[in-house]
Amino acid sequence: MAVVSISRVNKIFGKPGANQTIALQDIDLEIEQGEFISLIGPSGCGKSTLLRIIGDLISPTNGTVQVNGKPAPQARVDRDYGIVFQAPVLFDWRTVERNVQLPLEIMGKSAEERTRRANQMLELVELNGFQKHYPYQLSGGMQQRVSIARALSFHPQLLLMDEPFGALDEITRERLNAELLDIWSRTKTTIVFVTHSIPEAVFLSTRVVVMSARPGRITEIIPIDLPQPRVFETRESPRYYELITQVREALRGSEGMKV
């Protein structure tokens, strides 16, 4: 069964008549259990909007979104997904540990369970020992790891990531890419990942969804057949470059030869 199933979704911003923007047009997408899907496209193509619609942070103008066979709002109430934004959005009056525990606290888990799971998650993102630190004591990359740990703390089946590494430097970004793949293979979480970076999308994904702007549409879905697990050498294989070229050309096509 598909984890996410989007059919004929449109999103129009603004009131009818005066300067309406069609953010998304006729989006159809099925995401299977355990997939790693990247949404890529020029800015303004609605990839973040699509992510927010999947997460029921905004609702589509029309069309349906099913998550785990339920309508998206129900999936949100059932806490079926975790979110990671481009900024870590940590709460600076809480320690690292208590930031990770926040969703569990809201779900009314016991103190022991919260501590246990937070430790487990911090171990997963390689931040063990930083439990009692405050966010401002961590570097940007570490803060983003905390926010990933927080999103995964309640074991959601679906992880929605909106350019999570966009604000980080290239070196940190590549390291976190590798870590994310590791987390993905260990937790079997389905991931929907929004990015601007073609190499990042190719390196991480099982499928890359290429979108075009105004109106936001899916122009091509490119399966990434690089072998798993993806390692450092993956980035040096000829197939990796072929796929990067393929995605780049798809993007160029979607922009109508403007790039």
Partner: protein, 324 residues
């Protein structure tokens, strides 16, 4: 906030290993320059001292002739003629500091208790009203701010009236409130509350809206209720805004209570004392000046106690928030 790289000596071995493995540098803020209340008061005292020196310097240059002498003039008897006398700095407008402080100790009325005692008694009356007013006003402000933050419709409908309420001079409504309520110092407290609630309402509203919209989206994704979001995200984020407002409200409450006492004809607060010394100003200026000093000291004490509460609260909130 300035940040500096954490010296290796402060990192434990395990952390260092992790850091090395990750190649990330941990940053911590420079040692916080949080001033203790003691130094705050010290600095404050220094400024007052400078003020006093400047005051007397002005007297020295522009004032009325001074006489330095022992009581009967037997030991020495000097007179200083300031070089550039100006009316503004005359003894009638700017009494000497020692005259002002002396006025505090001298009886306010013939054979009565010293002025300080009179002022202290009046201050107790006024401060009661001010503190009760402060509590009522800030509570109302917190509630209104919270309501407005959640219901935009109410905000749009009511905030203009909240603002309008503050454009009415309190002197105009004070007699009405006093007559309607026939409640003595309670009406003074209500008038103080009337002045207090405004900054608290506006700042609470602003503070509750201050969190990153994505923080609210995160809470939404955890299916957190509005109430949970309010307690876990909005109020903690609003705290600095709220305390700013409380500081404003603390001073406003004192001034508000004093002003409210004037037209209401309540007999034993600071307002009445000021009114009395106002009429005596032409002949005995030091009394009014002494009263002003005293009143500002009282207001400052109230302000300082709010700061104290803020320090205690923010410190303990962190602790509380991070226990569990």
């Amino acid at each position: 906030m300035t940040e500096s790289t954490l010296p290796g000596a402060l990192v434990t071995n395990t952390e260092e290993d992790v850091l090395e493995a990750l190649g990330t540098d941990v940053t911590v803020p420079a040692p916080s320059r949080a001033r203790s209340i003691g130094t705050t008061i010290l600095r404050f005292g220094l400024v007052i001292l400078i003020g006093f020196v400047l005051w007397e310097l002005a007297k020295f240059l522009f004032g009325t002739p001074w006489r330095f002498s022992t009581a009967d003039g037997a030991w020495f008897n000097l007179v200083w003629f300031p070089p550039y006398p100006i009316k503004f700095a005359s003894d009638l407008n700017m009494p000497h500091l020692w005259d002002i402080f002396n006025a505090l100790i001298l009886p306010a009325q013939r054979n009565g208790p010293p002025l300080v005692a009179v002022l202290a008694q009046a201050a107790v009356v006024t401060m009661q009203a001010a503190i009760v007013g402060f509590i009522i006003g800030t509570t109302l402000g917190l509630i209104l701010g919270t309501i407005f933050a959640h219901w935009t419709l109410l905000e749009r409908a009511l905030v203009p009236y909240v603002v309008a309420s503050q454009t009415i001079p309190i002197l105009a409504i004070a007699p009405m409130v006093v007559v309607w309520l026939k409640a003595g110092w309670w009406s003074v407290a209500l008038l103080a509350a009337y002045l207090c609630f405004f900054p608290v309402t506006i700042n609470t509203l602003r503070g509750l809206r201050s969190p990153d919209p994505r923080a609210i989206e995160l809470m939404k994704s955890y299916a957190a209720s509005r109430w949970t979001t309010l307690w876990k995200v909005r109020y903690p984020s609003a705290l600095p805004y709220i305390f700013t407002a409380l500081k404003i409200a603390a001073t406003t409450a004192v001034v508000g209570a004093i002003i409210a006492e004037l037209p209401s004809g309540l007999g034993n607060g600071l307002g009445r004392v000021i009114l009395n010394f106002n009429s005596e100003y032409a002949i005995r200026p030091p009394k009014l000046w002494a009263t002003i000093l005293f009143v500002s000291l009282v207001g400052m004490l109230f302000f300082l106690s709010v700061i104290l509460v803020e320090k205690i609260m923010t410190r303990n909130m962190r602790k509380l928030e991070n226990q569990a």
